[in-house]
């Protein structure tokens, strides 16, 4: 039956059409199609019924999830992502974003603005500054050519807006020869006004009615003369891709035309100007009046995005360390743009809301807990964080805790209350975590990127102990540094961090305690530093290196080494006290475990690396190899047994042929391949052989289509092997 369908499909006309508009309702010649469509559409209709207005989300919890929750998840997704989406835009909202549909473009747009301004300034300056050279702007875009396009698009907009000018963007793939390049330049300049599609170019006024060859710059000259054009910008988007001699020739040519046509060049450079210069002829270089511009690199933008969208305390979904690490690594290893990062982030959000029934609790409004299904409660009891929570309660051992644990396990009501509490307190928890992280970073022990520090902290939590490097670095500080540190910590506590969405620490008595302590400390510090200033002494604590003196005493012909703390002045002692207090305060205060361990963190924390990796970093070779060597992995058919040695005749023909293919060397005799194949497949009946031949044909054709073999002329009936998977 399936076969019949296939063979009918074969003769359908539209399958061989290049492109057509899909419309299954228009069933003229096709008859078997409607049934199939109906099946699909019925399914969809059923889904639509249950989820009311055709949500793409499916029912989870083995289908027991109520449509209401499905919708809750979906709206939660849209809301959450819109929030992050906006935030990514808002944090860069210095400028009007024209094309706001693509958020990532928004970021880049704004981040490019500085460069754009500089370039326009340069262009204006160059008019006066250089007379006999070609002004050229070298824009260092970095290796990510994905963002180059956008940059040059913006440049073209900005520059054409500011001055009457024309802008031509060249890509190395389009400009292979001098002639082709000139053609493109002339065509692009002229086409923007007139949409003529003549083969040879007819320019302008018609007074002389002269026709030009389409690569004659004279035509361009004639074209722009009446238009009062101040600049013709020629942008080499990927200057590395151009042939060096072509570039040199172009520069020389543009220079020679410059008195008549006001060329200005723009080079997009991924590497460095020096490399470009080395590639150009010296004579060409001399004709260039240039300036270098740096575009904000992706890494800088990444940090901003990371802070505002990933790490922020009020981010609807937080990502776990392993996923984040892989995302950052990918960003670092493969030179992919910020778009990729944002898209990975979005995909994580999508996965979270699509596949996690508990994600419905992300939205803080308590409505999500109304009509909570017993499945939800059951699912919650199965989470790791629940188990941890209960275990902790049991470990504490007090009667209240024990009873709490019992009620959590047995009583749905109290569990729901606990869930509600945890959802409410979640932001406070993450704020706490971030505050601690910020304090640690304020001591500037970690001078690496925030993103990395965040990921590490996510994994291990943030704690300051007597042994940690934070304490050491505090002890090494002098009075002014301590002063700034204390002020910084106080500001963190009082104001929080805007980027990270951390508010002031007001709740809880311990915050007030710490703050008071710090403020008292600050008073002492200021007092002390004032005295020190008066007396013009430098303060030393007992921890600072100079404070220790090595003494050598010779007693009875023996050398005794003793380390004596240099006598500390009263002020020094005071300072030491301050340092000690400071470290004590921090040690007692900064003690936050990772938010991953919080109860119900599963509902707002996504940390699954596999979907993202599978989807963004496909491994087609591995997949293909697996499907051909072990088809039963996919087919799970009865005939082909896994683990059986050798080539099984029941394998799909292409897989069978692939096995034989593996044994061949670089040149394959098809006749031998065929005889090997036929002996594997059949006995020696004639009819069977023809059937085997059909299989052989199909397998061979498919191997060829997959790029495994190609025709070879070395010998008759031989083919060449192309792939070693």
């Amino acid at each position: 039956m399936a076969r019949e369908e296939v063979s009918q499909d074969v003769y359908k006309q539209e399958d061989h059409q290049v492109a057509y508009i899909f419309d299954p309702d228009d069933n003229g010649p096709r008859h078997e199609r409607p049934s199939k469509r109906r099946r699909v559409s019925k399914q969809a209709a059923a889904a639509a019924e249950s989820i009311e207005n055709a949500s793409v989300f499916t029912l989870l919890l083995n289908g027991a999830e109520k449509p209401g929750f499905v919708q809750l998840r979906e709206t939660a997704f849209h809301e959450s992502w819109a929030k992050i989406d906006d935030r990514i835009k808002v944090c860069n909202l210095a400028l009007p974003i024209r094309n706001s549909t693509h958020l990532s473009k928004g970021i880049l747009r704004s981040s490019n603005q500085a460069t754009l301004d500089q370039v326009s300034a340069f262009v204006t300056d160059s008019k006066t500054a250089c007379t006999d050279q070609v002004p050229s702007a070298f824009v260092i875009t970095g290796p990510n050519i994905a963002s180059q396009d956008l940059l040059f698009e913006q440049m073209s907009e900005t520059l054409q807006r500011s001055t009457p000018s024309r802008f031509v963007r060249l890509r190395s793939s389009e400009a292979s020869t001098l002639k082709a390049t000139l053609k493109k330049i002339i065509r692009d300049v002229t086409a923007k006004v007139s949409d003529d599609e003549d083969d040879d170019l007819e320019v302008g006024d018609g007074r002389d009615g002269r026709r030009y060859l389409d690569y004659d710059l004279e035509a361009l000259h004639a074209f722009i003369k009446p238009q009062n054009c101040e600049h013709i910008f020629v942008a080499f988007q990927d200057s590395e891709g151009f042939d060096s001699s072509l570039l040199s020739e172009l520069v020389v040519l543009f220079h020679s035309w410059r008195p008549r046509i006001p060329f200005t060049l723009l080079f997009g450079i991924a590497t460095s100007v020096e490399l470009l210069q080395a590639r150009l002829l010296k004579s060409a270089c001399q004709l260039i009046y240039g300036a270098q511009f740096d575009v904000i690199q992706t890494s800088a933008i990444l940090e901003t995005v990371f802070k505002t969208a990933v790490a922020a305390a009020d981010a609807p979904v937080h990502l776990g360390p392993s996923l984040l690490r892989s995302m950052l690594d990918r960003q670092h290893d493969q030179v992919s743009g910020i778009q990729t990062f944002v898209m990975s982030l979005k995909y994580a959000y999508m996965c979270h809301f699509y596949a996690n029934p508990l994600s419905a609790f992300v939205s803080t409004d308590s409505q999500s807990f109304d009509g909570l299904q017993s499945e939800h409660v059951e699912a919650t009891r199965n989470t790791a964080s629940f188990r941890y929570y209960v275990e902790q309660a049991v470990e504490k051992g007090t009667p209240e805790d024990i009873s709490l644990a019992r009620s959590l396990l047995e009583d749905d009501e109290s569990l729901v209350t606990a869930m509600q509490q945890s959802v409410e307190s979640r932001q406070e928890g993450t704020s706490e975590f971030l505050r601690a992280l910020l304090i640690v970073r304020a001591t500037s022990v970690q001078d690496d990127e925030f993103s990395r520090a965040y990921v590490d902290a996510m994994e291990d939590g943030v704690t300051i102990s007597e042994q940690s490097s934070v304490v050491d670095s505090i002890r090494r500080m002098d009075i002014t540094e301590i002063n700034t540190l204390v002020r910084r910590v106080i500001s963190i506590l009082e104001e929080g961090d805007v980027d990270l969405g951390v508010g002031p620490a007001i709740t809880g008595p311990e915050h007030a305690e710490v703050r008071d302590g710090l403020e008292k400390l600050l008073g002492e510090i200021e007092e002390l530093s004032a005295t020190a200033k008066d007396q013009e002494i430098t303060l030393r604590s007992k921890y600072s290196g100079q404070g220790r003196v090595m003494r050598t005493t010779v007693i009875a012909q023996r050398v005794q080494l003793s380390q004596d703390s240099a006598t500390l002045t009263v002020e020094d002692k005071q300072f030491t006290d301050i340092v000690d207090k400071m470290t004590e305060l921090l040690i007692s205060y900064v003690h936050v475990s990772s938010p991953m361990s919080a109860f119900l963190s599963e509902s707002w924390l996504y940390d699954s690396r596999t979907p993202s990796r599978d989807v963004f970093v496909p491994r087609p070779r591995v997949v293909l190899e697996r499907s051909l060597t072990r088809p039963y992995d996919y087919l799970s058919c009865a005939c082909c047994k896994p683990g059986e040695e050798g080539v099984q005749a029941t394998l799909p023909e292409t897989a069978l042929l692939y096995q034989l293919y593996l044994e061949t060397s670089s040149l394959i005799n098809v006749a031998d391949l065929w005889s090997a194949f036929v002996t594997r497949v059949v006995g020696d009946e004639e009819a069977d052989e023809r059937k085997a031949l059909v299989m052989f044909y199909r397998a061979l054709a498919e191997l060829r289509a997959l790029g495994f073999v190609k025709a070879s002329k070395k010998k008759t009936d031989h083919i060449a092997k192309l792939k070693w998977l």
Binding site: A2, R3, S7, V18, A19, I21, F22, P24, R37, V40, S41, A45, A48, V56, N144, I145, A146, S173, A191, Q339, T340, D614, V615, F616, P618, P620, R621, V623, E625, S627, Y634, L635, S636, C639, P652, T654, L662, T664, S665, S666, N669, A671, D672, W674, R690, K691, V694, Y697, L700, A701, E702, R704, A705, G707, A711, K715, T716, D717, W724, L725
Partner: protein, 650 residues
């Protein structure tokens, strides 16, 4: 190194061709000579076959066992090896070498037969390159072969010029064996003499077969081996060196596999030399495992290793079989059989597809969120995509006029213009997008889209198919896909599809990838029969061989027929000369001249007209060689050509 190899190969080839016949002649001649020899030797050499078999009972059972016994004589082998080499040298040198030979005590000569026997083995062995079973049979040949060669040694003693010529065949041996063609004289003589002297001590100078048989006794053998072991220490080192070099050579060419069989004998001998007893109890010589090398390389090599293993320099070693005897499939037969025989896995494939279909909601979600969906993996994904399109269609927003455009990348006629104009007409059927360069068309499509708020879904089958691989196509598609109102779903077939996209294009597509291995046959995507015929170099679109040509010629004037006959004849001749089976061209000028000579045509104009007719029917092809000379050739294989010629001549 490579030079050496070439030398070796050419030597082996020489061996392949020459020696067998020659040596057979030698046997005959030998019979004439033998009376001059002491009868004992004569008989010994005449019966050497049987002797051999008897003496080495193991030989017949297990050919690989042979070397063990022979190995006893190993040290002398070197000495012996040098002889043929010198024989080849100019006469004066040969004489001297002969004097050297005579300087060797008789015992050495006594042992020569066994030696010879081994060298004789080369010739038959080199012929088989194939399987173990063949190797087995050739080993039995070996046992017969020695008769021929063995005879030489007595002859040598005679110092008649003829046998020296006969000495030539084994000449290849030193090159092959040692890998070091010209051994420095000093070492050579050293090798030459030392062991023999010792042997002298053991064997005495007895030449009788009895004596020889006695020498085979285990006791003596062990004693001899022991002495050799003591003496041969210095030798073994050298052996090993030679061994090493030879192994390098061997590994570079499979053709020498068989030779290696012999080579290992040397390795074995050196091993046995060291062993105290050459009896069966001796542990297997250490060189042994290297010898058993299957024709297929080990299977568990990583791909890159395999690549290098398969792309070793040297001629590819494939058989000369062709598909000549096999009647190739026609389209009709292919489809008939296909229809009659349902796929064994049809249900499994169906099930697999239904599994994939379960992800439709997820994919729809991804598409709706601005991602492109790319399905990869083995098997046709056309049906699946069609279903997905239906799924999307059922969920589309009709109010906004959402449309789905399906593109078949595999269709041979696919061009970007057609795709884009289809996309354009999907957006607004009333407005046709002017045909222009793809980038311009993309611009106008985008500006058209701006006037509506529809969502357009592009479903591209086989986005990595050859017709879509042209430069600029993917950029245009990516530009479309990057537009927020356009969604893209596509399938890819090849494992290397991601190489099609640079980072810019890829981030514009914004793909999420899904493994969609379906195992479904590429029924529509591939024209299987044509595809295979193209692969085999049989042009699929041409008139069919002999009948086709006859058909074409029937409708052409007599002159045309004559010209075609002339052409076929010339091409056949050229093929004969070049000896290849490949398409061979003949010079346009030459054919024209001949045609004029035979009054087929009078002017070049007429000649061209005739050729054009052929060309239109694709029964000739023209090409230019490296010098720019125009060549005419016929796109048929030799046997076909011959058949055509017969038809024409009759």
């Amino acid at each position: 190194m490579s030079e050496l190899m070439r030398e070796v190969i050419s030597d082996v080839r020489a061996l392949k061709l020459a020696p067998q016949k020659k040596s057979r002649g030698a046997t005959v001649r030998h019979i004439q000579f033998s009376p001059a020899r002491p009868s004992a030797t004569a008989s010994s050499s005449l019966f050497s076959t049987s002797n051999l078999v008897q003496r080495n009972p193991t030989n017949s059972n297990d050919p690989f066992r042979g070397p063990e016994l022979q190995s006893v004589n190993m040290p002398r082998k070197r000495a012996e090896l040098d002889v043929p080499e010198q024989l080849e040298q100019p006469r004066s040198i040969r004489k001297r070498s002969h004097q050297e030979l005579e300087a060797i005590p008789e015992s050495d000569l006594e042992t020569t037969p066994t030696k010879r026997q081994r060298s004789g083995r080369y010739s038959p062995l080199t012929d088989d390159t194939e399987s173990d079973s063949q190797a087995q049979s050739s080993f039995s040949d070996v046992i017969k072969e020695p008769i021929i060669t063995v005879t030489e040694s007595p002859v040598k003693e005679d110092d008649t010029p003829k046998p020296k010529r006969r000495g030539r065949p084994p000449k290849a041996k030193p090159a092959v064996n040692g890998g070091d063609t010209p051994t420095p004289k000093a070492t050579r003589t050293a090798n030459f003499t030392t062991p023999t002297k010792k042997l002298n001590g053991v064997n005495g100078s007895g030449l009788t077969p009895m004596r020889k048989a006695a020498d085979q006794s285990a006791k003596r053998k062990s004693a001899r081996a022991f002495i050799q072991h003591v003496v041969g220490d210095e030798l073994t080192d050298e052996e090993d060196n030679g061994d090493f070099a030879r192994h390098i050579i061997d590994s570079s060419d499979e053709e020498e596999e068989d030779i290696e069989g012999d080579g290992v004998t040397t390795a074995d001998t050196s091993a046995v030399d060291e062993a105290t007893t050459p009896s069966k109890k001796t542990p297997r010589p250490r060189g042994r495992p290297r010898k058993v090398r299957s024709p297929t390389p080990p299977r568990d090599m990583p791909p890159h290793e395999q690549y290098f293993a398969h792309n070793k320099p040297g001629r590819p070693k494939t058989s000369h079989n062709t598909l000549g005897s096999l009647a190739l499939l026609t389209h009709e037969e292919y489809f008939t059989i296909l229809k009659e025989n349902p796929d064994r896995h049809a249900t499994d494939i169906e099930y697999l597809e239904s599994l994939h279909a379960e992800s439709f909601p997820q994919w729809t979600f991804e598409i709706s969120q601005g991602f492109g969906v790319c399905l990869y993996g083995f098997g046709s994904k056309r049906k699946l995509l069609h279903k997905l399109a239906a799924h999307l269609y059922s969920r589309r927003n009709t109010d906004r006029g959402d449309k789905i455009v399906i593109v078949n990348g595999y269709a041979h006629t696919t061009t970007m213009r057609e795709i884009l104009s289809n996309v354009g007409s999907a957006i607004d059927p009333t407005q046709r997008i002017p045909l222009a360069q793809p980038p311009t068309m993309v611009q106008s499509i985008i500006s058209q889209l701006a006037t509506t708020d529809m969502t357009l879904t592009l479903v591209v089958n086989s986005i990595d198919a050859a017709p879509l691989r042209k430069p600029g196509y993917h950029t245009a598609l990516a530009q479309l896909a990057a537009h927020p109102q356009i969604q893209i779903v596509c399938s890819t077939d090849t494992p290397d599809f991601s190489l099609l996209w640079d980072i810019g294009v890829r981030s514009a597509f914004n793909f999420v990838f899904h493994d969609c291995t379906t195992f479904a046959p590429y029924a529509v995507e591939l024209d299987v029969v044509d595809e295979v015929h193209e692969l085999l170099g049989r042009n699929a679109h041409r008139v069919n061989g002999r009948e086709g040509v006859a058909f074409v010629l029937r409708s052409l004037p007599e002159n045309a027929k004559n010209l075609f006959r002339l052409l076929v004849a010339e091409v056949l001749l050229a093929m004969e000369e070049e000896g290849g089976d490949e398409t061979t061209g003949v010079e346009y000028r030459m054919v024209y001249n001949k045609a004029v000579e035979e009054f087929i045509c009078s002017s070049e104009m007429a000649f061209r007209t005739l050729l054009k007719e052929f060309h239109d029917h694709q029964i000739i092809t023209s090409m230019k060689d490296a010098l720019g000379t125009e060549l005419l050739s016929l796109p048929f294989r030799r046997d076909e050509l011959e058949a055509i010629f017969e038809d024409l001549a009759s």
